[in-house]
């Protein structure tokens, strides 16, 4: 059960399950058990962007002109997103790479996590521009109670899986000589099935995170930009939202492939067994996001968005996301309370920037400082 970086078992990757089969050996992409992960890698790579490409210099003026309660909304959201991406930039790698068995899925996880690190870097880019010293904002993330409430919930499922996987890979699953003491300090009998269950719940939690947790902050950022405020920030958030749609797609794929019995048959059983628990994870996330909306608007609403509308949006998007993984829509909201948000979520892939195609003549930040009076000869006033 120990992890090996290059397994010498001549296995057929097309017959492996997504997780808990043989470790991946040859990183080959000419054949895939699940083609969609290869497509996701390609798409994510084509979406590559750097925070520095986006000019956020005007945002500082906008930010300083905001009333205090709107500054609170803006900064709190950035803090929360920083937390989410701090978790997502590392946890899929640590939790899922040791147990993955398909080369295309392994590479997708790495590509996914890498893109989350770009998001983290972009928050620093935004905050460095707003504050001379952004330390105070970053430091508050680990002490802010409202953020902590969510953090422990999200990290909990990851940590459970990581801890149990580490035990399995170090001691195997016999537990005749060494007992498994879980993160809560209790003795627990670890089996392959119980590990798979931890994995299932972890993916449910990641799915809820990508599906709804991000969208409360997105809505606020776009609401500012609808008023022509903090547009640099909104451009960055638009790129982040585009990436997140891909990440969400992958967790929905994994959950649906399991539930529909297209992967490991044992995972199909676990999907049925944990159906209610998976739903509860989603409902809990929706509830927490509504509480977050309450915290955001504790000192007052912003133009175009208030606690009630944002909570309705949480319910609306939860309905959609839950239907996508086979649950009934739990909330009554039938229509989108903020339909304008959809225009910010369009992927825009038709607009090909020169740097996306390989044009060798395209140079970033080049200027021609030689201007001759002949250059202006055709100008007329």
């Amino acid at each position: 059960m120990a992890y090996t970086t290059f397994s010498k078992i001549p296995n057929d990757a097309l017959k492996e399950p997504m997780f808990f089969g043989n470790p991946v050996n040859v990183a080959r992409y000419d054949q895939q058990r699940f083609e969609v992960f290869e497509k996701l890698i390609e798409k994510q790579l084509s979406f590559f962007w750097r925070p520095e490409e986006i000019d956020v210099s005007r945002d500082r003026i906008d930010f300083l002109n905001l009333p205090d309660h709107e500054q609170h909304i803006f900064i709190s959201n950035l803090k929360y997103q920083t937390l989410l991406d701090s978790i997502q930039g590392r946890s899929p790698n640590i939790a899922l790479l040791p147990i993955v068995s398909l080369p295309e899925l392994e590479t997708w996880i790495e590509t996914w996590s890498f893109s989350e690190t770009i998001h983290s870097r972009s928050y620093t880019h935004i905050l460095r521009n707003l504050f001379t010293d952004p330390s105070e904002v970053f430091e508050d993330i680990v002490t802010n109670e409202e953020i902590q409430k969510r953090a422990s919930d999200i990290a909990g499922y990851y940590d459970d899986l990581i801890h149990a996987t580490q035990f399995m890979q170090l001691h195997g699953l016999k537990q005749t000589e060494t007992d498994y003491i879980n993160l809560h300090g209790h003795k627990e009998t670890l089996t392959l099935r119980s590990l798979k269950k931890k994995l299932y719940l972890c993916i449910c939690s990641i799915n809820a995170l990508e599906a709804i947790r991000f969208y409360v902050s997105f809505a606020c950022s776009f609401a500012f930009a609808e008023r022509d405020l903090l547009e640099g920030n909104a451009k960055i958030i638009k790129l982040i939202a585009r990436d997140e749609a891909l990440h969400l797609n992958s967790t929905q794929q994994i959950l649906n492939l399991w539930a529909d019995g297209k992967d490991d048959p044992e995972m199909a059983e676990i999907a049925i067994e944990c159906f209610a628990e998976g739903r509860e994870i989603f409902m809990q996330a929706a509830e927490q996001e509504k509480e977050w909306a309450k915290y955001l608007f504790k000192d007052g609403s912003m133009i175009g968005l208030n606690e009630e509308i944002l909570c309705q949006y949480v319910e609306y998007i939860s309905n959609q996301r839950m239907q996508a993984i086979g649950y009934e829509a739990p909330f009554d909201v039938k229509s989108n309370p903020i339909p304008w948000i959809n225009h910010w979520l369009v992927s825009d892939n038709v607009q090909v920037a020169p740097q996306e195609a390989e044009i060798s003549s395209y140079l970033v930040g080049q200027i021609n400082s030689k201007v001759d009076s002949d250059d202006l000869s055709t100008f007329e006033l």
Binding site: V36, L40, Q252, S335, L345, V346, S347
Partner: protein, 84 residues
């Protein structure tokens, strides 16, 4: 005889050049969309009858009978139902 697009029992004329999502929008049918690129799954509908033709790879997870309206057209009559 021009082709028809039926959604939740209501018939609309079908423009075979446009995607099904664009068709719905041009008939002022309120449908959800996000990415318009086939990967987010927001525009997913149920296919009752007809043959959608995908113009790009539908990346979102599709169960049997699902159709992703943002990235397919139809050449002939097609019947859909929205998820609601």
């Amino acid at each position: 005889m021009s082709a028809k697009l039926t959604v939740d029992g209501i018939e609309y004329p079908l423009n075979t050049e446009k995607t099904l999502l664009e068709n719905l929008e041009s008939q002022a049918v309120k449908v959800e969309f996000h990415c318009r690129d086939g990967h987010c799954g927001a525009c997913r509908c149920l296919l009752i009858s007809g043959q959608p033709e995908y113009i790009s790879y539908p990346m979102a997870y599709l169960r049997d009978g699902d159709v992703l309206t943002c990235c397919c057209t139809a050449k002939d009559d097609i019947k859909l139902a929205t998820y609601r």
